[in-house]
Symmetry: D2
Subunit: 474 residues, 4 copies
Amino acid sequence: MPQFDTVIRHGTLATASDVFAADLGVIGGRIAAIGIGLGPGAREIDATGKLVLPGGVDGHCHLDQPTSDGSQSADDFETGTRSAACGGTTTVIPFACQFKGQSLRDAVTDYHRRADGKAVIDYAFHLIVSDPTDQLLGHDLPALIHDGYTSFKIYMTYDDMKLNDRQVLELLSVARRDGAMAMIHAENADFIGWLTDKLLAAGHTAPRYHADSRPMLVEREATHRAIAMAELADVPILIVHVSGREAIEQIHWAQGRGMRIYAETCPQYLVLTEHDLHGHGMEGAKCICSPPPRDKANQAAVWDALAGGTFHIVSSDHAPFRYQDPKGKMLHGANTPFNWIPNGVPGIETRLPILFSEGVKKGRISLQRFVELSATNPAKMYGLHPRKGSLAIGADADIVIYDPDRKVTITNSMLHHNVDYTPYEGLEVTGWPETVLSRGEVVVEGGTCVAQPGRGAFLRCDTPDLARPKVTAV
Amino acid sequence: MPQFDTVIRHGTLATASDVFAADLGVIGGRIAAIGIGLGPGAREIDATGKLVLPGGVDGHCHLDQPTSDGSQSADDFETGTRSAACGGTTTVIPFACQFKGQSLRDAVTDYHRRADGKAVIDYAFHLIVSDPTDQLLGHDLPALIHDGYTSFKIYMTYDDMKLNDRQVLELLSVARRDGAMAMIHAENADFIGWLTDKLLAAGHTAPRYHADSRPMLVEREATHRAIAMAELADVPILIVHVSGREAIEQIHWAQGRGMRIYAETCPQYLVLTEHDLHGHGMEGAKCICSPPPRDKANQAAVWDALAGGTFHIVSSDHAPFRYQDPKGKMLHGANTPFNWIPNGVPGIETRLPILFSEGVKKGRISLQRFVELSATNPAKMYGLHPRKGSLAIGADADIVIYDPDRKVTITNSMLHHNVDYTPYEGLEVTGWPETVLSRGEVVVEGGTCVAQPGRGAFLRCDTPDLARPKVTAV
Amino acid sequence: MPQFDTVIRHGTLATASDVFAADLGVIGGRIAAIGIGLGPGAREIDATGKLVLPGGVDGHCHLDQPTSDGSQSADDFETGTRSAACGGTTTVIPFACQFKGQSLRDAVTDYHRRADGKAVIDYAFHLIVSDPTDQLLGHDLPALIHDGYTSFKIYMTYDDMKLNDRQVLELLSVARRDGAMAMIHAENADFIGWLTDKLLAAGHTAPRYHADSRPMLVEREATHRAIAMAELADVPILIVHVSGREAIEQIHWAQGRGMRIYAETCPQYLVLTEHDLHGHGMEGAKCICSPPPRDKANQAAVWDALAGGTFHIVSSDHAPFRYQDPKGKMLHGANTPFNWIPNGVPGIETRLPILFSEGVKKGRISLQRFVELSATNPAKMYGLHPRKGSLAIGADADIVIYDPDRKVTITNSMLHHNVDYTPYEGLEVTGWPETVLSRGEVVVEGGTCVAQPGRGAFLRCDTPDLARPKVTAV
Amino acid sequence: MPQFDTVIRHGTLATASDVFAADLGVIGGRIAAIGIGLGPGAREIDATGKLVLPGGVDGHCHLDQPTSDGSQSADDFETGTRSAACGGTTTVIPFACQFKGQSLRDAVTDYHRRADGKAVIDYAFHLIVSDPTDQLLGHDLPALIHDGYTSFKIYMTYDDMKLNDRQVLELLSVARRDGAMAMIHAENADFIGWLTDKLLAAGHTAPRYHADSRPMLVEREATHRAIAMAELADVPILIVHVSGREAIEQIHWAQGRGMRIYAETCPQYLVLTEHDLHGHGMEGAKCICSPPPRDKANQAAVWDALAGGTFHIVSSDHAPFRYQDPKGKMLHGANTPFNWIPNGVPGIETRLPILFSEGVKKGRISLQRFVELSATNPAKMYGLHPRKGSLAIGADADIVIYDPDRKVTITNSMLHHNVDYTPYEGLEVTGWPETVLSRGEVVVEGGTCVAQPGRGAFLRCDTPDLARPKVTAV
Ligand SMILES: [Zn+2]
Ligand SMILES: [Zn+2]
Ligand SMILES: [Zn+2]
Ligand SMILES: [Zn+2]
Ligand SMILES: [Zn+2]
Ligand SMILES: [Zn+2]
Ligand SMILES: [Zn+2]
Ligand SMILES: [Zn+2]
């Protein structure tokens, strides 16, 4: 009689701490045992020569998120989570975004409707607060935090999202009091507006000018300000999608003063540069995201901060807009000015392969650090640990069996998102996910998603330990 | 028939990454399985309500180390390792110290003789190079690194140990080429000498003046210089026993520039202050170590750097000299001037309890971070991972069953070292090791060491991954 | 026949560069000669044992400035300039402040009306832009700059003054293009509002809470942001009334990156501390100004930055409100909450004596640095050099004959402003102005102002050299 | 009857503070008057359209300094001071260098013998201490300081000069106690030795490898260490010949902490780069000096620090060795390895023209800052102010009448030193000294030195105010 539902045998397991050879046994969708020569499983998977990793946790992606400019998210919860799963990710945390005037609870309800019956892997929601009324601050947000939506994103830019400093402080106070992780998009809206108008007035509308409209100091300033607000409110924050040296320096400075400032970067800042915005015709539009990719020196700075300890998580910031599409990058036609091009790059499927290949294989980070950045820390950051993000007894059996040696040239046709391009077209990587399990169930096999839409479950997040203010009195 | 030699049941296991409830099974001295409801063990240990942690790895302690001033190490490998084990430590890495003129191999041979038949837990050796001849640099040291002595300490101070910058660079070149971790004692010898002579000339001989002879900038300067040498030689280094803000700032600065500079601190910098050197009569001599404990603000800076990521390991720097002893702190009689008082404090047994109580229990660090700092990272730093330092399949079953709630007031009579005092006399801590296993064998039970001297084995260290130079070209 | 209108004989002259014994001869209101044994003057002034200094230039003071809260400036141009003159200042640069909705030219006209016929010494105007319409940016401000109003102040806080970042950038662009010096009041309005509401909600209304409503980081954040805007607009700026370490660090950091960031501090940050807000009853209201005085450590940091080169000018920021007055500090009665208490301290007369006594006499700064900070640099900063601010041939004979040894205990009854208190009551200083000349005419003699109101002339300011952007291309 | 010995009429005078039109009258070799329409002079010099500046003070040059390697200083006090004078410099401060074993007084006597009867302009001596015996520290050096040798240079590198940290501290203690300015050559000798041996072992002997043997961090480390020693000894120091960013950052950091750390740079770091060491054959030898010129980015950093306030003086560090000469750069023949090539570049005559043209004319620094850096501050730094370095009444009439518009292409044939090359060959500059007066006597006229050797006088230096420790207690 099989002792386990599933046994993954002869693999090399990795956690954020350790790498070792062992079998892994699953019972009831959870990791039940790790050991040498485990008893038989109803299903046996041979992982000889493979890595057995916790499934990736993508702590920052946008799925089926309505916009106010007429553009359309190319991925819904079905295509998005399928693409994620094929890339080795077993948990995604997209956003439930409040429109101004909308109640936050209604927004959440709407997003649940969007996700229901579609997701192939588990998901939680970050909230996005765009209209922090007294009702929201005093009741709705605390109630949602209590209900398991324990993180929210604050925008310092984008006209329909941005909050002023006072509003940010009010929200950080809620984060502190009710125990939530505040994620901050740190770019100075006024700076961007001023630069954009100058560029447009000079007739500079091509995609490449997107980078000129948001130079490094736009991000540095907002990062410093965000840190100051975290200091004032005495609460940890996470700075999302950090793109280069000057922002890193602010974060590193704050960390050196003993503050709990966490930071995220994304593959686009690890392998793209502003040069990718300079392509022929509108090609650059494919790589328009905010903050924009920087130059090679900044890219090196991001790698250094990743190999060191300044960064805590690597997310995709998957924001899927089709390229040749009037609801995508060509929103205002074939010459859409850079400031009207929807922001974002797709990358939910390529996140792990790029980080593994450029990071682990090139010797910049250890395999443990890879696991930590892409799975364990995101789970911890957002209150999903120990359920998700590690190979621990009792944790959900979200597992990726990874072929560390497979050579793949990334091309969009092999990806499973609903976007008509990938910014990483032609990038050669070593290593690719082979088999993916979600709660013990094989959802990807041989590169094909075999999961039924709707099998993915909504996850209530716990209060993240990392969101606790620093203990200063003893 | 028992499936395991030993099963530790119903405990809460912790690694540097995760905390979870599970049983742990040992076969042949190694961790064979971790899981829910493991099969029976020949020996069953109930860990209900207890933490099951990897045994501590003390990466910095001095045992039976001869001196040149007539003082005598109070602990040999028997008392020292017994004390360590009783404090939850299952691996120690003391030093094999070359005397000037002595061959390094002879030094190692001598230290093996000192350890043979005495240690109750496993041990490796760091080398101390005090006389870097061409023979040593070109042959002896590389050969010893090859033989498993893959770390060595470099002193920038102490007359009989200190190397000049040229010699340090030569040694760092060996570390780079042959793959060893260089540990650096960073204090400026000339600064200390100058200050000491001024203090003595002014008649300031009491123990408290030890602190004045080695102010923070003595350490800051040497730390900056050590970092510069690491940069020049392009090799990681570890700065040992970092005591306060200015040194931390240098390390943090270097880390922010992408350098692999590791750092260690010790309990004496976490709970003692310079005020402890001000005791009645010669009492202050009990706390004389170098660098000296600093003030409260520096102590807070050390905690911040520990909770953040600037520090990588916490060691004891156990350096045992008896207080009321003409071969100890009273080396030159009842009024021994501070500069003749042997440097060092005992602490091999109290390291884990202090870090656990002041760190985990007071909410400054997580349990995972505790494990990382005290066991996993030291093992990684010195090429002992994955054999030591974690609860991983295949690892040595070096395990401490820790009572997280036991309240203990530290007093010297309860400790097992051969020193007549502890600097932590009267300190109240919460949590204490209950049962300790080394390679699956119970060595401490109910606070008593039950292991035979000599059972501890010498460990050949691997090349530490952390000692690899940063990859810069891609 | 006299060769000079006036000769000041046997004094010790000081410039920002040199100190030397000489006579000084005036012809036609200008300095005509400096030398040994000058020929006779129609008037001869013996300065034996005295310093002969350029008259102070107070680059920041508020005179007869209407408010929107019902408070009233205690000093008009007559009492204000008389007080200034008695304190050794011969040029003041108060503000012409635009109300929202008012044209900038009308504001200037109004202020000229206020000054006409009243001033006893020369004066120029900084503009305050509170409503940067397109008309103002495109026409009015450039025209006024052209007419000699070559500096303007930007507020980042105060409800009726504050500009958003976009507006600041627009104004800095004008400063760059048309050649003006932008002065920035750097405090974050939202932070202050948030803190103030929290304090008030907790019932904390006493004067001392003013300091809690504007802690150091309120100023640090705005300083960083102001620097970022200067960087973006590529133009020098001056940060006014810098109060402590964290703001200084930002400025120092920017200067170290090669930016032209100038900085001002004031006597209140050199001798007062937040403790002065803690007085009995409402006494603290006397010292309410923004930013507030900080603690002793910050005060020391201000002195260090003054003795070093981080600061460029010392101004009074004289903002005169009577204490026992329903149009002054008691605006809302005897228990006026801190946030309704008019901001500002008087100090136009005590600026030089305090800086001289605490700075030069206590050995913190040289006499040349005193002259530079209090006279020469303000004149340069605002386009009044070489007419004002130095003892140079051809310069206006604005001269103070200073008794360096006179001991004075400051008390309000000896001062000439129209305020009923001085925050420096009881402060003992060494050195006091004895005789003051404006354009060669004695305006203060024996501590008495002998000048007719209206003799002071309006000064058109030149484009300040210091406002030029850094040359980067060669 | 003439009122003045000499009147310089109709010029534009400049001090470190001011620029103004005036006449200048000289009596008895001193500046007696500055004013409009001065009375007649026995000699009248028309300076219409010209600048009238204080003669340059070259605070760092080497004249007739014996070496230990067989090389020979190309310039003695006659050719050296003549070249200086022709370049607008009226005071030089070369070194009196102690050989190990020699008494410092004997060294001084020897140098006086070398200077006697030769100098055409005034001179003082810095001491160089290479052998700080107790006799020297306790008696000889204090006595010489008392006699007017109030500055000394400390070498942290060069085998025959370098002192260890202890010796440096002893010397800084003397500087503090007896009131002298300590100048520090900050390069780490051990680092250089290690790098040099590696380069030579690899066969890299060409001049260009000089730069590789002394990279930026060699200087950065020593700068940090020097600052630490100044902090420990609590005394100001001057870091000489600072070459680039990393050293500047250390200095700027120290200044930001309130320390009195002064800094000097030289024209070679303002216009040369390491590329100039890459010339054909041995051409690079012409530009070998220590520290070596850096890259363009470092050059820009030096300019920024010059335009800001980090640097205090610009000196020539004139160290004259002939190029095609077996006692010069070709010391060991036509392929002299870089480490045997005498260090130093000539530049005593080109210092002011390069700084004026590249600095003032290109808009990087003001004319006042030029005067401050090249004349006033060096005089203040070394106790020669107010006698030298400014246009002040009573000061020595050391004056240069400077044609600000003359265009000159620098070529060695036009220079007056005894070196067979200039590193600035072909450099086009605008502005050149026309007439130079020393103590009222014309010493250069129309580009020709008309002074008799021996007319230059030895200057006893006062205790420099700038060498006083910071006042901290009040
Ligand atoms: Zn975002
Ligand atoms: Zn996003
Ligand atoms: Zn040590
Ligand atoms: Zn030690
Ligand atoms: Zn203000
Ligand atoms: Zn003001
Ligand atoms: Zn030198
Ligand atoms: Zn030199």
